[in-house]
């Protein structure tokens, strides 16, 4: 039976495990397979080139998909030289994603710095994104820009950027929690931006405004996901755990919730 969406986990969810050296990236892939994830989001925790080869082999061996390749970028840096460096970094990540066999690359627009005119910053981000998107399009990679930070996580800002670049190779990593943190409704965001969504970060927010595992907080995932599906979304919901529990348990909790949600949506 075709699933309404597939389940992934971003390696960032287990950052203390991976960055702390407790587990390798291939071990992360193994753990996620044990938890029943169908894909993983990988990037930036590599310790060596050999580890990348081993991770690719592990994905194939366990039948997991590389849901998206991830890099962190900031195109809102005030100096032109710094922005240039971010563009180079993003292009390198496009190459890396391609080598890895990914079809999508997650990037961040950037962070609005104190004292910077938002309009000016949006112009910088648009210019940089346009350049990277051209490069990515030649390589057949979709840039899935995440709503991230405060200013650049807002629905209207994200929509302006998407419309300004206006390329099928610029789509959206829809972070449910980041819309809420930016003061916007994730449900409205799903309705307005759904057609651009290539990937979802499933992150919940509790009534005190703290990040938690999907299902633990106050967001209506069923309504949000329904909106996205109605607008043609067919990718991965990726658990991004930023809560206070042990990160592995948080991921387990999130996957359990999303799997139950999927079963319910399939039945309904």
């Amino acid at each position: 039976m075709k699933q309404p969406f597939r389940l992934s986990v971003t390696i960032y969810s287990l950052r203390d495990y991976v960055a702390g050296g407790k587990i390798s990236v291939p071990k992360f892939i193994e753990l996620m397979a044990e938890l029943g994830a169908e894909g993983v989001d990988l990037g930036y925790y590599w310790r060596s080139e050999e580890e990348k080869v081993e991770a690719r082999r592990k994905l194939d061996e366990l039948g997991l998909e590389l849901a998206i390749y991830i890099t962190a970028t900031d195109f809102a840096k005030p100096s032109e030289e710094e922005r240039r460096q971010e563009v180079v970094k993003a292009k390198n990540a496009v190459d890396e994603a391609k080598r890895f066999g990914a079809s999508k690359l997650r990037v961040h627009p950037g962070d609005l710095k104190p004292g910077i005119d938002p309009e000016e910053a949006e112009k910088w981000v648009t210019e940089s994104l346009a350049e990277v998107v051209d490069y990515a399009a030649d390589e057949g990679i979709v840039l899935a820009m995440e709503n991230h930070g405060r200013h650049f996580a807002k629905v209207e800002v994200v929509e302006r950027l998407l419309r300004a670049v206006n390329s099928p190779y610029l789509q959206l990593t829809f972070d449910t929690g980041n819309f809420a943190f930016a003061g916007d409704s994730p449900l409205e965001a799903a309705s307005r931006l759904g057609v651009w969504v290539a990937h979802v970060h499933a992150k919940d927010v509790d009534t005190l405004g703290r990040a938690c595992a999907p299902g633990e907080g106050a967001l209506d995932f069923e309504a949000i996901v329904s909106q996205l599906l109605a607008r043609g979304f067919s990718g991965f919901l990726s658990v991004e755990y930023e809560g206070r529990r042990d990160q592995l348990l948080g991921v387990g909790l999130g996957l359990g919730y999303l799997r139950a949600l999927r079963a319910r949506m399939r039945l309904g």
Binding site: G36, L248, A260, L261, A263, R264
Partner: protein
């Protein structure tokens, strides 16, 4: 094809809480706290600290409370030694009632309602000794009832309640579910003299009757039994935790490692605590904590079916 008339899967997995028994890591509270924080645990269960038994820790409760609160940790239970004593000795039973009162004082000072207790060194089967055990146990029930705490009786093979079936038999005989409940310790079933299988057999008796779970693992050997890292023994922890999640258990899974790279002598296992007990505990408990978290994460992730 989905059947809309089947019960819907549980939509919100129950977040089971994790704690570790203090002396399974160290006699030094700061090391225990560091361990619990590093492993993302929710609390600690107080047994021995600074080489002191729980009933000798009342004067230290302020210090314990401050250090735990500073790290965002709770106390899951007091692992008292109450009624690990002879059923026949008036003096020992009186001593243990005094110990119980001190442990209840500690529990209240540390904001937990659960005081783990036993059912006297085994002097025959529970069928033979039930009346005598109930008679000796009764004053403790009165004390706990007056103080508003829960006596959590553990299945322990060297006592009269030696397995899950006997725990149920005992709790039903006491008949005070508001005051006396169980601690389910499936790892203890591995050395049950009646040979009960922890899961699903033992669990089927105690389901819904316990307020706390101890986590250790072991296996039977030709000469008895040995403790092993959690998940590597005969308990069947993945199946056990799956059942706990499915049944909506929302209490603590409290790590009582027992396994050490070099096996502990029997007398220390029966009366755990102190420096010798905690030696190499931190390493062993780390291994078990990692295993346990993988198991719990998997059980939680599978909840949706």
């Amino acid at each position: 094809m989905g059947n809309r008339f089947l019960p819907l899967p549980r939509v919100e997995p129950v977040p089971i809480k994790l704690s570790v028994i203090t002396d399974e890591v160290s006699q030094d509270l700061s090391k225990v706290v560091k361990f619990a924080v590093e492993h993302g645990f929710d609390g600690v269960e107080v047994r021995t600290l600074w080489n002191l038994r729980p009933h000798d820790l009342v004067e230290k409760s302020g210090e314990i409370r401050r250090e735990l609160a500073g790290a965002g940790l709770s106390v899951s239970a007091i692992a008292s030694p109450v009624f690990k004593c002879s059923l026949e000795s008036d003096r020992e039973v009186e001593d243990h009632l005094r110990i119980l009162k001190r442990c209840i004082e500690l529990a209240k000072a540390l904001d937990t309602l659960i005081v783990r207790v036993f059912t006297f060194w085994r002097s025959g089967s529970l069928d033979e000794r039930l009346e005598a055990v109930l008679e000796r146990f009764a004053p403790a029930v009165d004390i706990a009832g007056d103080e508003g705490v829960i006596l959590a009786v553990e299945n322990e093979p060297s006592t009269h309640v030696n397995n899950g079936r006997r725990l149920r038999q005992f709790l039903e005989a006491v008949g005070k579910p508001g005051v006396v409940r169980g601690v389910w310790d499936p790892g203890n079933d591995v050395w049950d003299p009646e040979g009960e299988r922890p899961y699903p057999d033992g669990y089927s008796y105690v389901r819904g009757l316990f307020v706390h779970v101890h986590v250790k693992d072991g296996r039977r050997t030709e000469v008895g039994h040995e403790f092993v890292p959690v998940g590597e023994g005969e308990v069947g922890w993945l199946e056990q935790v799956r059942a706990l999640v499915r049944d909506g258990y929302s209490g603590y899974l409290s790590l009582e490692t027992h396994w050490r790279p070099k096996q502990l002598p029997r007398e220390l296992v029966e009366m755990p605590g102190g420096v010798a007990y905690s030696e190499t505990g931190e390493y062993a408990s780390s291994v078990c904590a990692r295993n346990l978290k993988s198991i719990v994460a998997r059980a939680l992730a599978e909840v949706g079916g």
